[in-house]
Amino acid sequence: MGRKILMIGWEYPPNYSGGLGIACQGIVENLVEQGEEIILVLPSVMTPKSVCENIFHSPTGKPYRVIYVRSKLRPYAGKDGVEYKGDVIEDVKTYARKVFNAVSEEDFDLIHIHDWLTVPAGLRIKEETGKPMVMHVHSTEYDRTAGGDGNKEVEEIEKKGYLAADKIIAVSGYTKKVLVEKYQVPDEKVEVVHNGNNYLPHSRQVSVDFLKNCPVVIFVGRLTIQKGPVYFIEMAKQVFEKRPETVFVFAGDGDMTKQLMMTSAFSGLSGTVLFAGFLKDEARDRLYQRADVFVMPSVSEPFGIVALEAAVAGVPVVVSKTSGVAEVLPSSIRLDFWDTDLMAKSILALIEKGDYRRELGEKIRSEAGAITWEKSAIKIRENYHQLLEVDRG
C-alpha cells in the first residue's frame, strides 16, 4: 500500500462542539483501520509549544500521528451562547501558515481537507508540493446562513477550495446539489460519501430516571439560524395545546439562545420548553435514551449526524427535507422545515400512538445500525485510489 494521507482538520474529539469533530474522527480512524497511513493536523489553543506531536490510536489500537499547531481557531466553540470572539478570517490564514511550516518536512501522497477553514492551508501545501487534494464538504456558507447572505470572504475562500480541489467529497446528495446548483461546481467532480455512525448508546449504562411521566421531544444542535430552532418552538406551541404535559428540550447553545428563551416565554412555554445547553458524552446519551421523538428542523443541513445518533438509540426521527441524513434513513419522517402544522401533527401522532412510535423506533434503529464509517472509509479510499491513478497516468 504505502499511501500516506495528510489530513487537515479543525476540530476533533475530545475537544469539539459539533458534528464535524465526530465525523472527522469516524473518517480518520476507519481509514487507519483499513490500513491507510494518516498524518492528522489540528489547531489547538493549549499546545505548550507552537507545534506538538501526539500518537492517537484507533479503536483496535492502530496508531496514527496527530500534529497540533497552536491556533485560536475555534469558530463555533463557547458556552452559553458566547461565540468565539477572534477574527476568524485572520485565524484561518495564520493557521494555514503554521500548518504549512509544521508539515514542510513531511512526505505524503495526498491532501485531504475539511471545509473552508482548512482551504488556505490545503491550497498553500498543494501549490508547493503539487500533490492532489481532496476537499471534504461537511457544510457550505449557504447552509450555515440558511440560504441568506453569507460572509463574502468565507464564500471566496470556499470557492477557491472547490475550484482547486481535484476531488470533492460531499456528505450527502443534498450537499452535492447545493454545490452544483449554488456554487456551479461541475457535477462529475463531486462524489457523495454519506457519513457513518460511531455512536453506540448501549456501550454504557446510563440512568433515564428523569422527566418522568411526560413525552419528551428533543432538538440537538447549535441554536443558530441554520438549524431552524424557531420552528421547533412553533411546533412545540401547537403540540402543547393538545398535549400540555409534553416537554421539549433544546440541547445546544448558540447565537440565538437568548432570543429563543424570549420567544419561548412569550409563547407561554415556560415549564414546557427546556434549555439544556450543549450536552456531550453521558448527558447526551441520557437524553437520547429518554427521548420519545427527535426533531431536526434544519433550514439547510448537509448531513445531520445527530439524527443518526437518535436513530441508533431507537428514537423516531422527524427531519427537514433539506437535510442529507434523510437519504440514509428511509424511515425518517420528512417534511418542510417551515411546515410546523405538519410537524406538530406528526409529533402528536408519535406521542399518542405508542405502538407506532416503538415500531418506527425499531425500524430506524436497524437502518441506522447498517450505516457505518467503515463503509464511508471504503468509498473515500476508492476516491484516493482513482486520484492517485490519474495522477500517475
Binding site: G81, K212, E245, M261, A265, S270, G271, T272, L274, F275
Partner: protein
Amino acid sequence: MPENLDFENGKVMKKVAEKSYRPMLTLLEKLMEKEDKFKFSVSITGVAVEQMERYTPDLLGLLERLAKTGRVEFLSETYYHSLSSLYSPTEFILQVSQHKRMIEDRFGITPKVFRNTELIYTNNVAKLVQDMGYKAMLAEGTEKVIGRKSPTKIFHSPSGLPLLLKHYKLSDDVAFRFSDSHRSDKPLTAETFAHWINSSYPEDEVVNLFMDFETFGEHQWEDTGIFRFFEHFVSHNIATGGEFVLPSEAIKVIKKADIYSSDSPVSWADVDRDITAWRGNSLQEDTLTKIYALETQVMASKDDQIISDWRKMQTSDHFYYMCTKWANDGDVHAYFSPYGSPFQAYSNFNNAFTDLKLRIVKKNDG
C-alpha cells in the same frame, strides 16, 4: 433538598450576616440600651428566618432580645417575600397569616402594620390588607401618585387604610447616596442629615425613612463609615429634640390627609417605582403567570413538601434575577444575582419549575 444544593443559600446568608446583619443588629441593641428614646421597626420574612435558623442562629437571638425591649415594632409581610398580592388574594392571605404566626411564635409580638414585598401597593392590595385587620400599610412616596404633596403626612387608601409613605429622597440619601463620590457634601454627616430631616416637615408630621436592612454594611460597606454615621445620627437627633416614632404610633398621633390612589402597582424599586424589575419582560411574565396558575393543583396535592417548594419558588428574587433592564438599575440587579445572566436565571427557574410541575402531576394522578 440535599445539603449541597443549598450551599449557595448558606454562603450568602453567612456573608451578609458577617457584613451587615450581625454588626447592625449589635449596634441597634447597643443603641436601645444607650438611648431610651430610640425606637425602630423592622420587617423580616419567613424564608430569612428559616435560613438564619439554619446558618446563623445567633442573629435570631439578637432579634429576640430586641423584641423584648418593647420599643421595636415587627411589621407584617408575606412569609415568602412573594408577589402573591398581585396574583392570588387567597394565596396572599395565607402567606401573610403564616408570617404573622411565625412572628407571634418567635418574637411574641402581633404585627399591626403591613409592608408588602418591595413596598408594592395597589388599591386592591390595600383593601385586602385592611380586611385582614391591619391598622396601616407602608407605601412609596412617589410623585407618580402624590404629585407635589409632601410624603410627611399620613395618607390613606380609597378604602380608608392609613398609609405611611417612604420619604424616598431622604431615605435614598443614606441607602444609595451615602458614599456617592459625586455628591458635594461628602461624606454625609449625622449633623447634615438631621438638619435635612428637620427642615423637611412641620412638627406634627413624620419623615418615614424606609430602607433595606442591607444598607448597613452590604450596600454601604463598613469602611464608608455607615455604622458610625447611624450611631451618631440617633444620638444627635435625640439630643437636638428629634423624636423617633413607631408606625403604629404615628398613625394615631398624626392626622390623616389626602387619598393615595393607584390601580397599577407602585413599588420602591429602581427609578421607575413600578414592578418592571420583576415583571418587565416575557421571561418574568410567563414564569410568574405559570407559577400562580399551579395554585389549584398544588393545593389539591395536600403534600406539604410540594406546597412549601411551590411557595419558595414565588420569592420575588427569582424574577428579579431575570430582569433585562440594563441601564443604571441593571448594575444593582447584576450585583445581587447569583447567575451570570438573566437568561441563566430563567433557564434554571424553568428547569426547577418543570420538575415541580411533573411532581404535582405524579402526586395528583398517582
